[in-house]
């Protein structure tokens, strides 16, 4: 930039006034209000149909340069000359002897078309009588080559399209629609995916994708409002032991809430409090609890220690560690991928991420495992018949061929997937439907309760269900939770490839092989020792006291090697932290003389069994927390800070970070380090 402009710039900078603070606030408020209003008006995707012929013609005229235009018109004239004139036909008909350059300069006849061939022709000329048919051979090959050249480079793309319009016209509307969607996904993956008809019509994939992708976003990616729905209940209230000594809930090994929190925090805002399910935050991390050695497939350990955020209360930390059966002995696995291919999945963090995720998982399957793929959009189709995992290329090809488009009919797809899973099951096989969706069930039966009922039915057939959520903005967390809880399965939210690695690879065995079904936890507190208690998290998993012994009531599944953690905050009798006063007209019933704090009961069913087994243990001592329990406590505190910090007092993010940092342990996968980073992010966002 010159000096005079520099002067001008500094002058202008001095002259520019600061915006009026009040107007600034008003304008921002106005924008935000309009934004909110605007969301409502565009829930329906607006379908814009513009005549494609005109768009393309315009595009052709825009990209057509004078040079390319001249070349092609000349080529057309040359072809016309050959085909229509008797002389040209003679040229074509004559047999082709060895090409011999001639003294006749073909450039005179077709000057523009033949830059390359003229060079050929300038080679030394043997003294041979020029013959007409040689000229013809040259002529023809030049014309063909010129046409070929025109088809390849970008300049020629539009031109080629004009020429091949009739070929394209052959493509049915259906295939054409398909190609449009493929084009936007990513151009590299399109090549194998394009249907044969189209790949014949458009050999130059890159350029055709560019041409076709423009009209695509007119109607493929509908603008979406934020329609996320989260499943959560009000935080568990404080319970008075003498009124209600028993607390019952089902285990929850889902991890979706943690990934959702992470995705919100890394996007720069605090998560919706309803998205925070504290138990899922805690259970996201692997814990190093005592491995089971008894007759049961899992073992509970109970720790009681001082609450980090309140010196006058204690945390009862219940850790359950599932056994890890020898991986080699695992039965063959039948996986039915049920993949949502509705139009809304057409985003980089949805279908392409899903493809990569499944590819990761595929590498960890055994040759005898079987995989099938069912896709659902407006209707459901089987994209891949049951195929042994060793046929990797077949499966990958089917995955790559997935394209997104149309509405969503979750139920139709589920029915087909379950039927397929049942067909695949033989003997001891473990069958599982893995549903991957961005949460849309907006065609047909999308009432979560209707779907739930269907899945509950199917649960009896022994097929498990895992729900993987992708993408933000329309995530129906509530539907996902409802499906996973009712279908003997887990729900996870995949926001990054490393999350896919954790869910589908590191936890492959745990996530896919249940070792105990319907695991329920019941804790009875001793009113002589514990005045009040509060269960942290598990709001959506609460069970009625009588449900504990009722085997018909469904509960959570424990996978191989999984650990589950539950934390109570208890107030000892006589503690200054007690929030409730003793009743005046009813004698406190502290009849027990035991010094136990409480009694833990666990019920579970072995996979395939209908009757449950019971594990019981009492817990007494107040001890020092070990690193695992202390880290879980830090996460519990973090979850409460994000959700509802009524009981935390002055304890804040700084304390949570310090506590988590001090108890990070070995952390081989770096999950805990990441948690500390998220806490820091939350801290800076909350201030």
């Amino acid at each position: 930039m010159n000096d005079d402009l520099d002067d001008l710039k500094s002058l202008l900078n001095d002259a520019t006034p600061a915006p009026d603070a009040q107007r600034r606030a008003e304008n921002i408020a106005l924008a935000t209000k309009n934004f909110t209003d605007f969301q409502g008006s565009r829930t329906q995707p607006r379908l814009t149909f513009r005549s494609k012929i005109w768009t393309r013609t315009k595009l052709m005229l825009n990209t057509l340069t004078s040079r390319g235009g001249l070349t092609v018109t000349t080529a057309i004239v040359a072809c016309g000359f050959i085909i229509t004139t008797p002389f040209g036909r003679d040229l074509l008909r004559t047999p082709m002897p060895v090409i011999e350059p001639t003294a006749v300069d073909p450039g005179q006849a077709i000057p523009e078309v033949t830059p390359e061939p003229t060079e050929l022709l300038r080679e030394p000329v043997p003294a041979v009588e020029p013959e007409v048919n040689e000229l013809a051979a040259d002529f023809e090959s030049q014309a063909v080559r010129a046409l070929e050249q025109l088809q390849a480079p970008t300049d020629g793309a539009a031109v080629r399209e004009a020429i091949e319009e009739d070929v394209l016209a052959l493509a049915t509307p259906e295939t054409e629609g398909l190609s449009l969607e493929t084009a936007t996904l990513d151009q590299v993956e399109m090549a194998p995916a394009a249907p044969q008809l189209l790949s014949r019509a458009a050999p130059a994939v890159g350029t055709s994708a560019q041409i076709q992708s423009e009209p695509t976003d007119l109607y493929i990616a509908p603008p979406q409002g934020n329609t996320e729905i989260f499943a959560n209940d009000a935080p568990n209230p404080l319970k008075i032991t003498s009124d209600e000594p028993v607390s019952t809930f089902s285990i929850d090994v889902d991890t979706a809430a943690y990934s959702l929190v992470r995705s919100s925090l890394t996007a720069g805002h605090l998560p919706n409090p309803d998205a925070v399910r504290i138990e899922e935050l805690i259970n996201y991390f692997p814990y190093d609890y005592t491995t089971p050695n008894g007759p049961h497939p899992f073992q509970p350990t109970v720790n009681v220690f001082e609450t980090p955020w309140n010196a006058d209360t204690q945390l009862v930390h219940i850790g359950i560690q599932g056994e890890m059966p020898a991986v080699e002995d695992r039965p063959p696995l039948n996986l039915v991928f049920l993949i949502d291919t509705s139009g809304s999945m057409n985003q980089p963090n949805k279908l392409p991420l899903l493809r990569q995720s499944f590819r990761l998982m595929l590498d960890n399957l055994r040759p005898e495992d079987e995989v099938a793929i069912v896709t659902y959009a407006g209707s459901s189709t089987i994209a891949l018949e049951p195929t042994a995992a060793e046929n990797r290329s077949t499966i990958l090809a089917a995955l790559n061929a997935l394209t997104a488009g149309g509405g969503t009919n979750g139920q139709g797809g589920l029915e087909q997937a379950y039927t397929l899973a049942e067909q695949m099951t033989e003997g001891d096989d473990v069958s599982r439907v893995i549903l991957a969706t961005d949460g849309d069930f907006n065609v047909g039966l999308s009432d979560p309760r209707g779907l739930e009922a269907y899945i509950e039915d199917k649960r009896e057939s022994g097929t498990y269900l895992s729900v993987l959520g992708f993408g933000r903005g329309n995530l129906q967390d509530a539907t996902m939770q409802a499906l996973a809880q009712n279908g003997n399965g887990t729900a996870a939210y995949i926001d990054t490839l490393s999350e896919a690695q954790k869910v589908l690879v590191d936890n492959l065995t745990g996530a896919l092989f249940p070792i105990a079904n319907d695991v329920k936890i019941q804790v009875e507190f001793n009113p002589a020792e514990v005045a009040e208690y509060r269960l942290i998290g598990y709001e959506t998993r609460a069970l009625a006291r009588e449900d504990f012994n009722n085997d018909a009531v469904d509960a959570g599944e424990l996978g191989a090697g999984h650990s589950v953690t539950a934390i109570y905050e208890v107030t000892p009798v006589g503690s200054p932290a007690q929030l409730s006063d003793p009743l005046r007209y009813q004698a406190a019933e502290t009849t027990t003389t035991s010094d136990e704090l409480g009694f833990l009961r666990l019920r579970y069913k072995a996979p395939g069994d209908d009757t449950s087994q019971l594990i019981e243990t009492a817990f007494v001592t107040v001890s020092q927390p070990n690193a695992e329990a202390a880290f879980a406590a830090a996460i519990a505190g973090f979850g409460q800070l994000l959700r509802d910090d009524t009981y935390l007092g002055d304890w804040g993010y700084g304390d949570a970070i310090a506590l988590a940092n001090a108890n990070r342990g070995e952390d081989p996968f770096g999950y805990r380090t990441e948690a500390v980073q998220l806490m820091r992010l939350a801290q800076s966002l909350a201030n």
Partner: protein, 179 residues
């Protein structure tokens, strides 16, 4: 750490309906936007109004943001178009309203403000033809020629030409003043 979230991330989140992302995006960009509006209009009151117009219409314009481009480029394009619209409206208003009404009040306020400032710069900017002024405003706002060309939908050569034209205009103006 907070700043690791780029404007582009926010815009994409806002496109997906995230209200918080949208308001933080606006809050981040408001001052820049106002600065450009001032340069496009040359008067504070006008700039405030133009910024308000843009803010009001921005949610609807959000759909036009493409993920590949920079948020500032997109925002500036919206601003320049809004400025055009405003000028056009004012022109027809002047014809129709015969010099009275709201517009006249605004204009008088602007004139008074300019007189207060009494520096040659604002006058000079106002004296430039609109297209030259737009180009100059963008280039002086640290946009490269390529970005300016992209925002205005013209070629880079045109940007350079317009800049030299603007320089000529300013020079003659200065000479006149010196005389």
């Amino acid at each position: 750490m907070r700043m690791t979230v780029t404007d582009e991330d926010l815009a994409i989140a806002a496109q997906n309906g995230d209200e918080q992302a949208f308001s933080s995006l606006i809050a981040r960009q408001y001052d820049r936007l106002f600065r450009l509006c001032f340069r496009l209009t040359g008067a504070k009151a006008e700039a405030e109004d133009l910024t308000q117009d843009i803010c009001a219409a921005l949610p609807a314009k959000l759909a036009s943001y493409k993920q590949q481009s920079k948020v500032t480029t997109w925002l500036y394009r919206v601003a320049v178009n809004a400025a055009h619209d405003r000028r056009r409206k004012q022109a027809s208003h002047t014809r129709a309203a015969d010099g009275w009404g709201d517009w006249e009040v605004n204009r008088q306020a602007a004139i008074a403000e300019n007189a207060d400032r009494a520096d040659w710069l604002t006058t000079a900017m106002n004296a430039l033809p609109n297209d030259l002024r737009d180009t100059l405003a963008l280039v002086l706002d640290d946009m490269t020629h390529a970005e300016t060309a992209d925002i205005l939908g013209i070629s880079e050569g045109t940007v350079s030409w317009r800049l030299s034209e603007a320089r000529k205009h300013l020079k003659t103006l200065k000479e006149k003043e010196d005389v």
